[in-house]
């Protein structure tokens, strides 16, 4: 049966404890998410520490320098190699289409890279990003935070151990009312060129890549339906519903969806030959997750499970850099993600099924 203590305690199964000095991170791009979630997570973690911030806004630089005691640079100074002795790795948190130049700069400086999802706004640019890190021999992690979420890792282990038999299908939704926060319609997430796509690129990546991670499989074909009734979403998808095949007759299918408007919702469900796992509040940052496990032995519900997966995410990256451990959501993994997103866009445009 599903072990409730592990899910509740926060599993760090990757942690060898062998990190002597915290890995110093330069954050490039200091939007709401970086300032309110990622940089505090580095500060809270054991193995990563915020050392440098790069922002185009003087007020942001001043306030972050004050709050976290970091060196604050503008983009020109970052590109020119200022303060490179003060950081070991770069966290790229800009709009998607700017990931490539900033990751290339990091690679030029010989710095490791943890890059926000999706890796870039197009497959070609994501390819070039991965190639730049490879050529410079720096580590690259795609910042899929659910892959270090203790509940998700415990679910992966449970599924891998045959806890629900053979996986038959997955379902997942992430509805994020993007206009509901402090950022109005004038934000990069609604700009097709900068973002690459809308709800699909920003939040659809969660059910897709979390299911990939849990199952250890990659997509083989996709189909999709996109709807954007609200004129605020004239450049990007407001609602996307996409079906992803993993393997053929013997494989499994994911029925995923994402929205940029509507009642907030994040969920992941795995249906197997011998059981079911469902996670509510599945992708909400730092949230308590509710996990239901059904098997022939009975039904177990664990409420309030989880620990802050973003703290774990930066610690995981820092640990891997410091100990030369493998990174699971690496550049190749992130590329599969971007290729799948592009295939979903192609499928929704054509109405057909697109093979990967």
């Amino acid at each position: 049966m599903f072990d409730t203590t592990l899910a509740a305690a926060g599993e760090r199964d990757w942690d060898t404890g062998a990190v002597e000095e915290p890995v110093r991170i330069a954050t490039v791009g200091c939007g709401n998410y970086a300032r309110n979630v990622s940089i505090p997570a580095m500060a809270e973690g054991a193995y990563a520490t915020p050392a440098v911030v790069v922002s185009g806004d003087p007020d942001t630089r001043a306030s972050l320098a004050d709050e976290f005691g970091v060196t604050a640079l503008d983009y020109d100074a970052y590109a020119a190699g200022a303060a490179t002795d003060e950081y070991d790795a770069v966290y790229v948190a800009t709009p998607n289409r700017l990931h490539l130049p900033h990751a290339e700069t990091a690679a030029d400086h010989g710095k490791h890279v943890i890059c926000e999802k999706p890796l870039e706004a197009t497959v070609d640019r994501a390819d070039r990003l991965v190639a730049a890190c490879d050529a410079a021999d720096v580590r690259l992690m795609t910042a899929y935070r659910m892959q270090t979420d203790p509940v998700v890792r415990r679910v992966r282990e449970f599924v891998a151990d045959g806890g629900i038999g053979d996986l038959q299908r997955a379902a997942g939704d992430f509805t994020f009312p993007v206009l509901g926060g402090s950022a109005g319609p004038d934000q990069w997430r609604l700009d097709r060129r900068l973002a690459g796509g809308g709800a699909l690129y920003d939040v659809g990546v969660y059910p897709l890549n979390t299911a990939r991670f849990v199952a250890g499989d990659d997509p083989t074909a996709v189909s999709a339906t996109v709807r954007s009734p609200d004129p605020a979403f004239d450049e990007v998808d407001q609602h996307v519903d996409f079906r992803v095949e993993f393997g053929g007759e013997d494989g499994w299918v994911g029925n995923f969806s994402a929205s940029f408007s509507g009642h907030p919702n994040t969920s992941l469900e795995l249906l197997g030959s011998d059981g079911r796992v469902a996670v509510r509040s599945a992708f909400e940052p730092g949230a308590d997750r509710e996990v239901t496990v059904e098997t022939p032995d009975g039904t177990l519900t664990v409420a309030g499970a989880g620990a802050d997966e973003t703290v774990a995410e930066f610690d995981y990256f820092a640990h891997a850099v410091a100990t030369d451990a493998p990174i699971e959501p690496d550049g190749a993994d992130g590329l599969v993600g971007v290729r799948t997103l592009a295939a979903v866009q192609e499928a929704s445009a054509s109405g057909g099924r697109v093979e990967l």
Copy 2:
């Protein structure tokens, strides 16, 4: 907020009480479901009563005559018009491809018809079934039992009243391990010609038609993926995942699935602009349903909700026949269902999107 008392008590919002004599029903086809669920439900209900059974098996005829005090006929006697003064309506519960001849016989006898889902194995045959009942001026109900389920009717009312804002998407699954019961691989549900299809036709109709009923909308396009890895399902779909569009940009999308093997599961979820409704054990016959309603006001979970929807189904039909009230899941409604199933099969074969 969602009214828990209604869901718990079992709403019969259609019931005017104006039925003086129970409607006497002849059951044609006495398989497990008819014998163990439908005929007992008629016996339990207030407005319907089991009067005649038609079976090809002498033992079945004898045991049903004994248990329910009904007249038992073989198929030849039914076709020849035996005992027509003993019943007012016919419940057709044979394999799908035999619905047409038995409904035609009922219509010839001037008897009303309640016909199991799906209406027939093909669109053409379903068309002819509806036409036969129309020509004879007898009432026809498609036996979608969820449409008389008190919880489903309460959810429909809640959604129609704007309880979750505008419907954005639905999700639903029915996994029924068809080989797990007393019937082995030698059953009509696995025979393509008799059944019309597999999991899609037998249980995929539930999430599809229940979502249609709750929203009051009909499909405009579908796409689908079918997998049948187990050789027992060489003629029919073992697993089907199908996406159904209801309207265009301003419409909503249903992500539905069904399986003939796997951990038993029935679920329905409705995601709206301002809320969410989820039903567990959504389609299980006579089960307690767990309903979760999330709105900006908070989250409410009602466990153990429901009443026997099959008793209500036959009472609803009998009430409509006796009082000349409208039947919502009528022949036209059942035809939309069969056309959608056929479109799903076409879409899975072509890999493309099929418009309705």
